[in-house]
């Protein structure tokens, strides 16, 4: 297991380097001027050229990349052109807000997904299964920003029971009723897709496992229903975990649309701001951190899967 861990860790390095190259160069492919974050629309080309020099944006892109990477490995992701604040502090606050949203979103999404999927898998072909499948299809099909707006109309505008936007009264997250009220609608909205995907995955796995010969053999040997269920869970877990890991990655990455609809100050909202302002250091830093988070998450999921099912290590 230890050598497998080391091997997987080494594989992460070239992926991480590729990520830095892609996220650095991608923003230069996008249209617009990097200084548009601070320059008003009326700035002349002369002033733009002068400021490019002052910000070091007139240097060749490979040189800019080398400087940026050198600082990034030391934990310095630069300074936001728009706000002048360090990218790491901007990101820290945004990611902690997204983590909170992702935590609630995954709690809702994974719990419901596992319950719905298991029930549908066990009751394959019944009306219950059809209902769950319909809900799952609707879940992956419905645009979640649209759902967010509908929830806001119902719960905020019509019934006025939950706030329409924001993460609370501002500042750090506090575990009180006011903050929890703010997280309800965005968490439900963001959890819809994971709920549907996990439901479909678990349903398919459970139905498949229940149809296998070893389950018939276990039942023939007189194993209780709970005993069979435990075997089903063990067999379904690796694939389900992998799917949940990917979904968790998406949730952590923050949903630009959901966070924008709810003005939730997370990484998606930050990315949205950075994109529209073309705040290159902020954009590069945010993409890099989110991408590396995804890479790390995949590594963790791989290791957990391997721990549960040693066949994966041997493969």
């Amino acid at each position: 297991m230890f050598f497998y861990f080391i091997k997987r860790l080494f594989l992460v390095i070239p992926i991480a380097i590729s990520v830095t190259v892609v996220c650095f160069s991608l923003v230069y492919l996008a249209p617009g001027d990097p200084l548009s974050a601070i320059l008003p629309s009326d700035a002349s080309q002369e002033l733009i050229d002068r400021l490019k020099q002052e910000y070091g944006l007139d240097k060749p892109i490979p040189v800019q990349y080398a400087i940026w990477l050198g600082k990034a490995v030391q934990g310095d992701l630069g300074t936001s052109i728009a706000t002048g604040r360090p990218v790491t502090s901007e990101l820290g606050r945004a990611i902690s807000n997204t983590l909170i949203l992702a935590l609630f979103g995954s709690l809702i999404g994974f719990s419901l997904g596992v319950i719905f999927g298991t029930v549908a898998g066990y009751r394959q072909g019944t009306w219950l299964d059809k209902c769950v499948t319909a809900v799952a299809v609707a879940g992956v099909s419905v645009p979640h920003y649209w759902l967010g707006m509908v929830l806001v109309i119902l719960f905020s505008v019509t019934w006025n029971v939950l706030p329409a936007m924001g993460a609370g009264p501002g500042g750090d997250w506090v575990w009180d009723l006011e903050h929890l009220q703010h997280v309800v609608l965005p968490a439900i909205t963001i959890s819809v897709i994971p709920t549907a995907i996990v439901t479909r995955t678990v349903r398919a796995l459970v139905a498949d496992i229940l149809g296998r010969e070893f389950v018939t053999a276990l039942r023939a040997k007189g194993l209780t229903d709970f005993g069979v269920f435990w075997h089903v869970v063990k067999n379904a877990a690796p694939t389900s975990l992998a799917v949940m890991g990917v979904q968790l990655g998406y949730l952590m990455g923050g949903s630009i649309l959901v966070e924008t609809v709810f003005s939730w100050p997370g990484s998606g909202f930050l990315l949205n701001t950075a994109i529209f302002q073309r705040d290159i250091p902020l954009l590069q830093g945010t993409i890099l951190v989110l991408a590396l988070f995804f890479v790390t998450l995949n590594l963790v999921v791989d290791l957990v899967q391997t721990g549960i099912d040693p066949r994966i290590r041997r493969a």
């Binding site: 601070i38 320059l39 629309s41 002349s44 006025n160 329409a164 501002g170 500042g171 709810f262 701001t273």
Partner: protein, 534 residues
Amino acid sequence: MKQSNWVQRTGLALLCMALSLPLAVNAQTTLRIGMTAADIPATTSQPDSGFEGNRFTGLTLFDALTMWDLSSAEKASTIIPGLAESWVVDAKDKTKWVFKLRKGVKFHDGSDFNADAVIFNFEKVLAKDKPHYDARLVAQTLPRMPTLKGASKIDDYTVSIETSEPDAFLPINLSNLFMASPTAWAKTKSWTEFAKAPVGSGPWKFVRLVPRERLELEKNAAYWNKARVPKTDRLTLLPMPEANTRVAALLSGQVDWIEAPPADAIPQLRTKGFQITNNPYPHTWPWQLNVLPGSPLADKRVRQALQLAVDRDGLRRVLGFNAIPAKGVVFEGHPWFGQPKLNVKYDKAAAQKLLAEAGYGPGKPLKIKVQISASGSGQMQPIAMNEYIQQQLKEVGVDVEFDVIVWETLFNNWRLGAKDPAARGAHAINVSFAWQDPFFGFARFYDSRMVAPRSVNWGWVQNPELDKLVANARGSFDAKARDAAIAKLHERVVDESYFLFWVHDTGPRAMSPKVKGFVQAKNWFQDFSTISMQ
């Protein structure tokens, strides 16, 4: 018995009143505004986010030497004394001005506003060798005052300001240079740190800033202009870039005021008792024409024909009536409007006649290409509006092809000019603009020296008569004479039709019935001091 009840009741009432008195005394009023910006505009003293930034974190926290009179919803705003009580240009050398400063003004940290503070704030954008010089502040400031050269102290309350050429627009432009407390900056010697607890002399004082979430301000009870001491205790600004989110926040009572409600939500808001305010302001949505040799629009008759070929009331319908038809750069009634010979209106027959004179007709339709964007700051609803214009022009025999590009690219192309390959042979470009001051409204578009890349004379207008009129306006140092000179310039600009003027935005806002006393000035900026919450 009855008397005893009466005494008991009175006593109880008095007790309740006494208990509620501290609450009543302490009850603070707060105005919460949902902005369209995705982040709190910079609080460095020179805001970003365009004029929305100046509106919310410029004019609230800071003052400038000159300021806009925002007290009327009817009259066009004019420049009035701010931290400078008066100013005069040197009679012999028109590049030198003397500004007399207001005495007795204090920054929010208690330090004095004086000539040293003014010099410090000029140096922050002009003096590269000073520690308080900052490229970010330069970017937010100098485009709005391109002739500004330097400032020097004459005495504690008098400064001399120098421009690179005679420029009568300077007092207007200086309304964008905000005065920050040098003492507050000196504590950290960093504008980034200063922005975390900004100190100005404005009617509102800083309380708390949470990036991308909120900015909380409180009233400056000691504000030097007693007429503008805020009537509300607190002002909270919340970034809400999504229009529907703003509407939902207003409907659910999370905010009291939203900027730019979407046109389709306005009837619903009205029905529910919310106030909708709007008023034309210096924001025009045009097509800027390419008049380079070889362009069909180099012919004045063609330009005027297009100007007359579109029914602008239809554009208003597209925008839910949140616009007024444009008859020039500025709206009718504005001191700069003048009396153009060309009456910009819908006259299909006149348009067809002019096109025929220019050699276009059923057998030879005019074909033009326009660069537009699908969205963008201040661009209103560009696709729907441009398609409407396209249909209208088709009726007079003009085929319009659109080159739809990303807003940021369109903006870059605007700066690069019609000669640049980026224009891809376009005959017009659709970029809305602000004309808050004469440089923005005129000089940068019609002065032949302002062709790209120097500024945004995109279409390469090189008309000696307009050059002379721009110079005349810039050289008219009396406010009335300056307005008259700009009106003359405007008359020629409309007659020449280097721009097709389509509509002026009216800046709709929606607010709770509790918001009282708001006067929506015909300006990008608004005064929040007059507002009370009831």
